[in-house]
C-alpha cells in the first residue's frame, strides 16, 4: 500500500485516475482506516487530500459557504459564523463520533462514505446543499440529495473527488435543526435521524421547508410530504402532527442490530417533530 499527499487538486485527480480503482481517498480516515485495518478494504494507494489548500478552507461567498472536503468537523463546529447560519448542519456534524473522531473526520468524508446513517447528510439535504466535484473532465456540481446512490455508493466517477460542499445564502427568519436517536447519549450510530430546514415570513408563517430523514432507507431521504405539512402553517400542533405522520410514512427501513423497522418508523416521526420545533425557534430568533 502506497501513500501520496499531493499539494494540488490536479495532482490528486491524476493519481486517482492513474490508479484505476485501486486508490482510496484519505481525508479524516476515521472510516477508511478501520476498513483497511480489518481487511475490508485493500487499496494499493492512499491519496491524502489534506495537503491541498483549497480543500482545507471554509470560504464565505455570495452569502453562502463553501466547505472544503478536508475541513475537519471540529474546524467547522468552531466556525462561529457558519454555526450561526446553519446550526442544523452543525447539529449533525457535532454527532459524528467523539471529540477525538471529530478532530479528524470531515463532512466530505461523512458524505462520501455514503452510510445511510451519516449524521451530516440529512441536514445537508434539508439545506439544499450542493456537492462540488472535480475530475479528469473538469468540475461539476450535484445536489447532495442525488449524490449518494445507496450504501457505500456515490455518483463519483473514476478519478473524480469531492472538492467542497456549498451552502446557499440564508433568507431571513430561517432556521434548521438535526436530531438523531441513539441508545446512548454519545458514541453511537444514528438509529434514526431527522433534519428540518425552514423559513418563516414576518407573520411567523412557514413559507419554505425541507425535511430529510436518515437511517430509515438505503440512503438519506428528502421528504416533500413532510415539508408540505409545515408550509403555510405557523408550525402549530396540527402541523407538527401531520409532519410526524408524513415522516413516518416515508420510512423504508430495515431491521438490524441497531433497531427494528417499527421502532425506526415511529421514532422518525418523533425526531422530525422535535427537530421542527427547534428549527422554528431558531428561525424566530434569526432576523
Amino acid at each position: 500500500m502506497r501513500y501520496e499527499a499531493p499539494k494540488t487538486l490536479e495532482g490528486a485527480i491524476a493519481l486517482l485516475s492513474a490508479a484505476n480503482g485501486q486508490a482510496r481517498l484519505l481525508a479524516g480516515g476515521t472510516d477508511l482506516l478501520i476498513q483497511v485495518r480489518s481487511g475490508r478494504a485493500e487499496p494499493g494507494l492512499l491519496v491524502d487530500i489534506k495537503a491541498i489548500p483549497e480543500l482545507r478552507s471554509i470560504v464565505a461567498e455570495t452569502g453562502g459557504y463553501r466547505i472544503g472536503a478536508a475541513v475537519t468537523c471540529m474546524e467547522l463546529i468552531e466556525n462561529e459564523a457558519f454555526a450561526r447560519d446553519w446550526p442544523g448542519i452543525v447539529d449533525g456534524v457535532k454527532l459524528i463520533g467523539s471529540i477525538q473522531v471529530k478532530g479528524r473526520a470531515t463532512m466530505g468524508g461523512n458524505l462520501c462514505n455514503a452510510s445511510p446513517a451519516a449524521d451530516s447528510v440529512p441536514a445537508l439535504i434539508a439545506a439544499g446543499a450542493v456537492v462540488c466535484i472535480a475530475g479528469p473532465l473538469g468540475r461539476r456540481e450535484a445536489p447532495v440529495k442525488d449524490f449518494v446512490l445507496g450504501p457505500g455508493r456515490t455518483s463519483l466517477g473514476n478519478g473524480e473527488l469531492v472538492a467542497s460542499i456549498q451552502l446557499p445564502r440564508r433568507a431571513p427568519h430561517s432556521g434548521d435543526a438535526y436530531l438523531r436517536f441513539t441508545p446512548r447519549t454519545e458514541m453511537d450510530i444514528a438509529v434514526v435521524g431527522a433534519a428540518v430546514n425552514l423559513t418563516l415570513d414576518d407573520k411567523g408563517v412557514c413559507r419554505h421547508a425541507r425535511v430529510s430523514l436518515g437511517a430509515v432507507a438505503a440512503r438519506a431521504l428528502l421528504v416533500p410530504e413532510a415539508a408540505a405539512a409545515l408550509v403555510g402553517t405557523k408550525v402549530d400542533e396540527a402541523a407538527l402532527q401531520r409532519l410526524a405522520a408524513a415522516a413516518s410514512a416515508a420510512c423504508r427501513p430495515i431491521d438490524d442490530k441497531r433497531g427494528t423497522k417499527e421502532f425506526r418508523i415511529k421514532v422518525a416521526g418523533v425526531m422530525a417533530r422535535r427537530a421542527a420545533v427547534i428549527a422554528v425557534e431558531r428561525a424566530r430568533r434569526q432576523s
Binding site: S38, G39, F181, P183, R184, T185, E186, M187, D188, I189, V191, K257, R258, G259, T260, E262, F263, K266, V267, V270
Partner: protein, 764 residues
C-alpha cells in the same frame, strides 16, 4: 489448617484513612506497564485464526502455505497439544476440566462458536502474521447450531458434545444432552407454602450475555528457552492459576514456568483463565524466539468469556400481611461452548436476602454455540436477582407495602437459615435497608414519567490460599511482597495500610509489590471479593510475626526478658517499668542493628483464609422514561453497602460506583447480538454499548460497616455486591415511572417503546 484472626475493636490511625495509592504516579504518567507494554529482543508477533462458523466439524487444517510465507517462524494447531482426559483436575485449588480447556484454547474435532481458535502463527511482524492466517486452509463441515438456552434444552436440539449426559438427574439419562448439569436447592415444603399464600406472583425473565468489557484486551509475552524453562508476562487476575493451567496443557513442571503479572487493565472475572498464554509458550517453544500475543477488541468479544444469558422463572407466594410463605425459581443458564456457567452460585444467591421457610431453586447448566462463559463480578447473581427482586417489588406493590418495608419484613438476619446450608452469621443487610430508607434520595420528589426503584444484592465473599512476605530493610522501611493481584481496586494500598497500622509506622514506609510466581507460594485468583479479606489477613499475620521478632531482638540487645518488651507506635518500649527499664528503640534503630545482631528480620504468611463474611447492598435509582422513544435516563443513583470495614474508603466507593455503572450498562444497552447464522454481529465498542460518561449521573455511596468477626479489621470484601442490584432496581424504577414490568434485558429503547405501545394497545 485454617487461619482465623478474630475481629479486634481498636483505635485506628491509618486503616479507614485515604492515603495516595502507590501505583498512582506510574499510572498517570504512562510509566505503568500493562500486558501489551512488555517487549523482548527478537520477539515474534503471534496471531490466532478463529472460526467463522458457530458450529462445524473440522475436516482438515492445512498450514503448509502459511509456514512457507517468509517471516513465519511457527504455526500451532490442535496437533501440538496433548489430549486431556474428560475429568476435573486441580489447578491450585481450582477444579477445571482440561478436556474443555484444551478444546477452548484450540479447537479439536469441532469448532463450537464464532471466534473459536483453530490455529496460531508466530511471525516477524504483525502484517506478516495476519497474511499467514489468510493462507491457512481449513475445510469445514458446517453443522446446525443452537445459541438460545431454551432451544438448546429441547430434545433434538443440535448437540455440542455427543458424549455429554446430564449430571444430577436420576436415573442417569440414556441420551446425550446440552444440559450439562441439573442442580436443585431447597428447604421446607414449597407446595404447602404456596397453599398458605394469599397472593402469588409468577414471572419469566430472559437476559442476554454481557461482556466484562475491560478496556485492556488480553495480552501476553512468552519466552521458552531450550533448557525447558519458560517465562510468561501476562495480564491476569491470578498468575499462579495461569501458571498451573499452562503447565498442565503444555505438560511442563509447574516450577519451570515463571509468570510475572503485568499491571492489569481491568478483569472483572474475565481474566481468571488462560486464552493465548499457552499458545504463546507453545509458539515460542517451536520458534525458539519470544512470542508476543495481543488480542484485538474483536477477538476479545468473539473469543473470551462473557457472562451467560439466561432464562429465569420466579414464583413467590405471600400472605396479606406481607410474610413470604414460599419461593421458587428455575434458572437456565447458557454455559457457552463448554459446561461451567455460574448457575450454582446464582442458585445460592437467588433468595438468600430473605428469611424463607419454603424454598426451591432448580438450576440448569446448558451448553450452546457461544464463547465459553467466564466469571463476571458476582457471577450469575445479578441474573437471578433481576428476576427475584422484580417479583419481590411487584408483590410489595400488590400488597400495598413500601418496597423497603416489605423487604425488611422478610429480611435475612444473623441466624437466618439459608436454603443452601449454613445459618448466616452477623450480617448488615437490615442496616443497608434502613440506611437506604433514611437517605434523602429515598424521599426526594419525582417528576412526570420519572420513577424510583430499589433492589438488594447478596454475595458470599471468599477467602482461599494466600501468601505474602514482609521484609524489614536496613533503614527501617519495609517491602511487602504480595501474591494476590491488585486488579485495580487498590489492594496494594490497603495491604500496606494494614501493615503500617500493625507496626505503628507511616503508610509511606511500606512498599507493596506483587511478586512473580517464583517469589512466593501459591495464591488463588483475585476473585470472589477475597483480596482485601484474605490477603489482608496474611499481611496482618506477617506484620505480627515481624513485631514478635523485633521484640525478641530488642530483648537480646537490651538484655531484658521478652515480656519486658512491648511494641507501640513503631517502637520497642518497656512493657512495665517495674519489670525492666530500658531506652526505647525505633524500628529504624533496630533495622540498622539487625544484620549485626542475628540477621535481617522478615515475616511470612502462607494461609488458606477461612471465615469470609457475606456482603449485602441496597440500591436506589431514579429513572425518566421518554414515552415517545422508549429511552431510559438514569437521573440519580445511590449505593448502600455493608463492607465490614472500609480499609481505604475512597477505593471502596470506587468499587461501589464502578459495579453500579456496570450494572446500569447491563440493564440498559449491553447485549451480545447474534445473527441467524450464529455469528456475533456487535464485536466492538461501537455497537456493544458500555455506558459513557454522559450516560451516567453521579453515583452516591453510603458505606455501612458491620464487622466480619473473622477478620482482625472486620473486612468482608466489596467488589462484587454492587453489580447485583442495578438491573432489578432499574426495572423496578421503570415500572414505577410508566407502569411497565420489563422482563427482557436489556431495557433498550426499541424494547421499552414496544412494551409501551403494546400496553397502550391493550388498554385500547
Amino acid at each position: 489448617m485454617s487461619t482465623m484472626l478474630k475481629y479486634e475493636k481498636k483505635e485506628l490511625k491509618i486503616v479507614g484513612t485515604r492515603p495516595l495509592r502507590p501505583d498512582g504516579v506510574d499510572k498517570v504518567t504512562g510509566r505503568a506497564r500493562f500486558g501489551a507494554d512488555y517487549n523482548l529482543p527478537g520477539q515474534l508477533i503471534g496471531k490466532v485464526l478463529r472460526s467463522p462458523h458457530a458450529h462445524a466439524r473440522i475436516v482438515s487444517i492445512d498450514t503448509s502455505a502459511a509456514l512457507a510465507l517468509p517471516g513465519v517462524k511457527a504455526v500451532v494447531t490442535r496437533d501440538d497439544f496433548a489430549e486431556m482426559p474428560d475429568e476435573m483436575a486441580a489447578v491450585g485449588e481450582l477444579m477445571i476440566n482440561f478436556r474443555d480447556v484444551t478444546r477452548n484454547m484450540m479447537a479439536r474435532e469441532k469448532v463450537l462458536y464464532d471466534g473459536h481458535p483453530l490455529a496460531a502463527v508466530a511471525a516477524t511482524s504483525e502484517s506478516v502474521a495476519r497474511a499467514a492466517l489468510a493462507l491457512i486452509k481449513v475445510e469445514y463441515e458446517v453443522l446446525p447450531h443452537v445459541i438460545d438456552v431454551v432451544e438448546a434444552m429441547k430434545p433434538g436440539a443440535p448437540l455440542l458434545n455427543e458424549n455429554q449426559y446430564t449430571q444430577g438427574v436420576k436415573p442417569k439419562p440414556d441420551r446425550p444432552s446440552n444440559v450439562a448439569k441439573r442442580l436443585e436447592y431447597g428447604r421446607g415444603d414449597v407446595a404447602a407454602g404456596f397453599k398458605e399464600a394469599d397472593v402469588i406472583v409468577e414471572r419469566e425473565f430472559n437476559t442476554k450475555p454481557v461482556h466484562q468489557g475491560y478496556i485492556e484486551p488480553q495480552a501476553c509475552l512468552a519466552s521458552y528457552s531450550a533448557d525447558g524453562q519458560a517465562e510468561l508476562w501476562t495480564s491476569t487476575q491470578g498468575h499462579f492459576v495461569f501458571r498451573a493451567q499452562c503447565a498442565k496443557v503444555l505438560q511442563m513442571d509447574v516450577s519451570k514456568i515463571r509468570v510475572t503479572p503485568t499491571e492489569i487493565g481491568g478483569g472483572f472475572g474475565g481474566k481468571n483463565n488462560i486464552y493465548n498464554e499457552a499458545l504463546a509458550i507453545a509458539l515460542s517453544r517451536k520458534s525458539n524466539r519470544p512470542v508476543k500475543m495481543v488480542m484485538t477488541r474483536e477477538e476479545v468479544f468473539r473469543g473470551t468469556g462473557p457472562t451467560p444469558g439466561a432464562n429465569v422463572k420466579v414464583k413467590i407466594g405471600c400472605t396479606r400481611d406481607g410474610k413470604i410463605t414460599a419461593a421458587e425459581a428455575e434458572l437456565n443458564f447458557q454455559a457457552g461452548a463448554f459446561p461451567g456457567s455460574p448457575v450454582n452460585q446464582a442458585s445460592m444467591c437467588a433468595f438468600t436476602r430473605y428469611d424463607l421457610a419454603n424454598v426451591r431453586v432448580v438450576g440448569n447448566d446448558v451448553t450452546v454455540n457461544r464463547p465459553k462463559v467466564a466469571a463476571y463480578r458476582a457471577p450469575g447473581a445479578p441474573i437471578a436477582v433481576f428476576g427475584v427482586e422484580s417479583v419481590i417489588d411487584e408483590m410489595a406493590k400488590k400488597l400495598g407495602f413500601d418496597p423497603i418495608e416489605f423487604r425488611l419484613k422478610n429480611a435475612a438476619r444473623e441466624g437466618t437459615q439459608t436454603y443452601y446450608g449454613p445459618k448466616l452469621g452477623p450480617i448488615g443487610y437490615v442496616q443497608t435497608l434502613e440506611a437506604a430508607r433514611a437517605h434523602p434520595h429515598y424521599s426526594a420528589p419525582l417528576g412526570p414519567n420519572q420513577g424510583r426503584g430499589i433492589a438488594t444484592g447478596f454475595w458470599f465473599n471468599i477467602g482461599n490460599e494466600t501468601t505474602c512476605s514482609l521484609n524489614l530493610q536496613e533503614d527501617g522501611s519495609l517491602t511487602l511482597v504480595l501474591g494476590t493481584i491488585d486488579v485495580a481496586g487498590g489492594s496494594r494500598a490497603s495491604m500496606a495500610m494494614m501493615v503500617a497500622e500493625e507496626l505503628g509506622i507511616e503508610f509511606e514506609r511500606v512498599r507493596p509489590i506483587v511478586g512473580d510466581t517464583s517469589t512466593l507460594g501459591f495464591n488463588f485468583l483475585t476473585a470472589g471479593s477475597r483480596s482485601t479479606f484474605a490477603s489482608g489477613m496474611a499481611c496482618v499475620i506477617a506484620a505480627r510475626q515481624v513485631i514478635e521478632k523485633l521484640r525478641q531482638r530488642v530483648a537480646k540487645i537490651r538484655e531484658v526478658p521478652l515480656e519486658a518488651v512491648a511494641w507501640k507506635d513503631g517502637h520497642a518500649r518497656p512493657a512495665d517499668a517495674k519489670v525492666a527499664q530500658f531506652a526505647p528503640m525505633s524500628l529504624a534503630e533496630i533495622a540498622r542493628m539487625a544484620g549485626k545482631t542475628g540477621g535481617t528480620i522478615a515475616g511470612h504468611a502462607e494461609i488458606n483464609a477461612q471465615g469470609a463474611g457475606p456482603g449485602f447492598g441496597t440500591h436506589i435509582v431514579d429513572v425518566e422514561v421518554d414515552r415517545q422513544t422508549g429511552s431510559v435516563k438514569i437521573l440519580r443513583y445511590t449505593v448502600v453497602q455493608d463492607v465490614g470495614k472500609a480499609i481505604h474508603p475512597a477505593y471502596v466507593e470506587g468499587q461501589m460506583q464502578g459495579g453500579a455503572a456496570q450494572g446500569i450498562g447491563w440493564a440498559l444497552n449491553e447485549e451480545y447480538v447474534y445473527g441467524d447464522d450464529g455469528v456475533l454481529q456487535n464485536p466492538g465498542f461501537l455497537d456493544y454499548r458500555v455506558p459513557v460518561a454522559s450516560d451516567l449521573p453521579r453515583i452516591d455511596t453510603v458505606i455501612v460497616e458491620v464487622p466480619n468477626p473473622n477478620h482482625p479489621y472486620g473486612v468482608r470484601g466489596c467488589g462484587e455486591v454492587p453489580i447485583i442490584a442495578p438491573m432489578a432496581a432499574i426495572a423496578n424504577a421503570i415500572e414505577n415511572a410508566v407502569g411497565l414490568r420489563l422482563c427482557e434485558q436489556p431495557f433498550s429503547p426499541p424494547r421499552v417503546l414496544k412494551a409501551l405501545d403494546d400496553a397502550a394497545a391493550a388498554k385500547g
